[in-house]
Amino acid sequence: MASPNARASKKQFTFLLIAIVVIGAGALGWAATRSTGGSEAIDPNLPLGTAQGFLMGSPDAPVKIVEFADFECPACAQFAMLTEPDIRERLVKTGMVSLEFFVFPLPMHPNTWSASNAAYCANEQGKFWEMHDRLFYTQDLWNTQSTSNPGKKMMGYATDLGLDMSKFEECFDSKRHYPNIKASGAEAEKRGINETPSFIIGGKKYAGSIPYDEVKKLVDAELVRVGKADTTAKGAK
């Protein structure tokens, strides 16, 4: 039989475990329900607009890469900074590939809505890709961890890009593209996309920040499939 000391020790141990569970569960509950600062809340009843892809390259390119990305997702930024420059230079400019970008705002990234809004508004002035690049290259300066007022940063980027600020501000403040942003996310879900970045190349889905060499292999395989393999030989490395 256990001694009184052992029993007391066991009792203390049980209390310690209970305390850890209570504190840990409380902290997790708080983390799961905490507000993300002053970032805006998105109305769940926001109507669905039109899903719009932003195209780079020739619409007649033999291989089409469709990207679904969230401006606030670090892996998407990694892809935009490390892989995409090569894709643009070696595959899009050579006419082998067209790249179509859809925003896919994830619920864990409240500031992505502001960023997407800025990209859509920049698109009204023909500068979607310039804003796209600026957003990904400066992601750590406007993401939810950095600021609860991303709009201020977006205004700065629009100024830097030489946009007509009165038009940009009017577009940004009106939030008229929010239904379209929501529709773009719905389009991603409809196509079975559940993480970012995700890509559709030749009808097949690929997830994650794919390195250039892998993209090139997939594009080459697709060129063979569509009977444009000679483009591979003449095309970029």
Binding site: G24, A27, A32, M108, Q145
Partner: protein
């Protein structure tokens, strides 16, 4: 007893990161800024499952073994400290690999992963001490 308590503490950061992967937790609380970069990197998946989920399973197993070792029936059974040394030794190796990835490949630090690595090291030392004590 202490190992069971530490394992229980370690379970919560692992659950936090797993809930993040599930989308239940919005933005990760991260004072040093690289948590999300680490947890959305390709190395955050191991054998098809999030590393955080493996972490949860690991801590639950460790807690169960350590707790079993506190029972009167198994108090003198050397298989328990041996199992703990094996489990925590594996944990140290895997945590070392993950820490290497953070430092040399991803170039970002996840504070919760670092906390977990420290807890695993503490449990490894405690397991070694327990194994040594069980020889006497």
């Amino acid at each position: 007893m202490v190992i069971a308590a530490v394992a229980l503490v370690g379970l919560f950061p692992a659950m936090y990161l797993w809930l993040y992967k599930l989308g239940v937790v919005g933005t990760l609380s991260c004072k040093i800024g690289g948590c999300e970069k680490v947890n959305t990197s390709p190395w955050a998946i191991f054998l098809g499952q999030p590393v955080a989920l493996w972490g949860v399973a690991y801590y639950v197993l460790l807690f169960a073994v350590a707790l079993a070792g506190t029972s009167e029936r198994l108090a003198a059974d050397r298989r328990v400290p041996i199992a703990l040394v094996t489990l925590t030794g594996w944990g140290v190796l895997f945590s070392g690999y993950l820490t290497y990835l953070e430092a040399a490949v991803i170039h970002a630090w996840c504070q919760w992963c670092v906390v977990s690595a420290i807890l695993v090291c503490i449990m490894f030392v405690l397991s070694l001490l327990e194994l040594r004590a069980s020889r006497k």
